[in-house]
Point group: C2
Chain length 150, copies 2
DNA sequence: TGACAATAACTGCCTAGGCAGCTAATTTGC
DNA sequence: GCAAATTAGCTGCCTAGGCAGTTATTGTCA
C-alpha cells in the first residue's frame, strides 16, 4: 500500500524526518544525562549489550549497534583502557576476541541503568499502555521490513 | 506512566534502540538511492525544506534539521557552488542571508521526489492505512513530549 | 543615547564514525 | 588436501557534524 504520493509530498510527514527528530531529541537527553558520569552513552550501550548476551565479540556487537568494525574497535579500546571490559583471544577460533565485563564494568553498567530508564520513561510518559505496546509493535514491523533483503 | 523498569531493562525493547535502528536502515536506503545522482540526501533535504517554506534562512533551517549553524553553512556552500540555491543579504535585517532555490535547484529537487517517495512507500508498504496513521500520530506525540522544556 | 545583550552567519578545530585495505585464521569447493 | 573465498579484528584516511570563538548587525533598557 502506498501511503506517500510524489505530488503531495511534504518534508514534515516523512517518517524519515520524524524518526530522525525523535531519535535525535532522545539522544540529546541521554547524552546530557551521562555527561557527569565518566562514560559515554555509546560506551555504556556496549556494556549493556554484553550483559544482555546480544554479542560477546566485536563482530556481533557491531552488527547489533550498526557501527562498522573499525569504529567499534576504538570504542572497545576505550572501554578496555578504563578496565570496564576484558578482551581474550578465543581458543576455538583464534580469529575471535571474546569480550567480557569486568567487575567494574558491571558496576558501571548497573549504576547507570536507573538514569537511562528514567529518561525513557520521561519520553513515553504520556503514552497509555496500549499506545506504548502499539508503538513498539509498529517500530518492530518497520524494522523487519527494512531488514528484509530488497 | 512508567513503561520501563530498571530491574527488567533490556536493550532491545528500548525505544532509543528501535528508533535508531529504524532511522539508520531507512537512511541507508535513501543514501543508496541517491548515490548516482550528483547530490547528497542531506543536501536534497535542504532543497525540500526551502521549497516547503520551512525556512529560508540558515538559522531557521538548522533549527529545523537539527544541525548546528556551522555544519549548515557548509551544506549551503556546496549547494551554492552547484548553483542549486542563491544567497542574498536581507535588506530588512542585514545580519540575515535569504536563501532561494534556483531554477536548477527546483528541477533537481523535483526530479528526485519520486525516488524518495518510493523508498518511503517501500518502508511502510506492509502498514495498513490505520497502522500508518497511528504510527505517525505516536511519533508526533513522542516528539511533542521531547520538545517540551523539561 | 549609549552600553550591553542577543542574533545571524561564518571559521577553525576536534571527534566520531564510515570506508578501504591489511593480516591472520578458518571454511568451502574442487 | 589445497587454493580460493570468507571472516574477525585492526589500522590509516577522510568526511560530516558538533563546539567554541569571531564579526557584523540589531534589539534592549537604564
Amino acid at each position: 500500500m502506498k501511503h506517500y504520493a510524489a505530488a503531495s509530498f511534504k518534508a514534515r510527514q516523512s517518517i524519515g524526518y520524524l524518526l530522525k527528530r525523535a531519535h535525535g531529541l532522545l539522544m540529546e537527553r541521554a547524552e546530557a544525562a551521562f555527561e557527569n558520569h565518566d562514560i559515554t552513552f555509546t560506551q555504556w550501550v556496549i556494556l549493556l549489550r554484553l550483559r544482555d548476551g546480544l554479542g560477546n565479540t566485536a563482530a556481533e556487537l557491531c552488527r547489533g549497534v550498526g557501527h562498522d568494525s573499525g569504529a567499534l574497535t576504538r570504542v572497545l579500546d576505550q572501554l578496555e583502557k578504563r578496565r570496564l571490559i576484558e578482551r581474550s583471544r578465543s581458543k576455538q577460533d583464534r580469529r575471535v576476541v571474546e569480550l567480557s565485563l569486568t567487575r567494574q564494568g558491571h558496576a558501571m553498567l548497573e549504576s547507570l541503568i536507573p538514569l537511562t530508564v528514567d529518561k525513557l520513561n520521561e519520553a513515553v510518559g504520556d503514552f497509555s499502555a496500549a499506545e506504548f505496546r502499539e508503538f513498539l509493535r509498529l517500530l518492530e514491523k518497520l524494522i523487519a521490513t527494512l531488514e528484509a533483503p530488497k
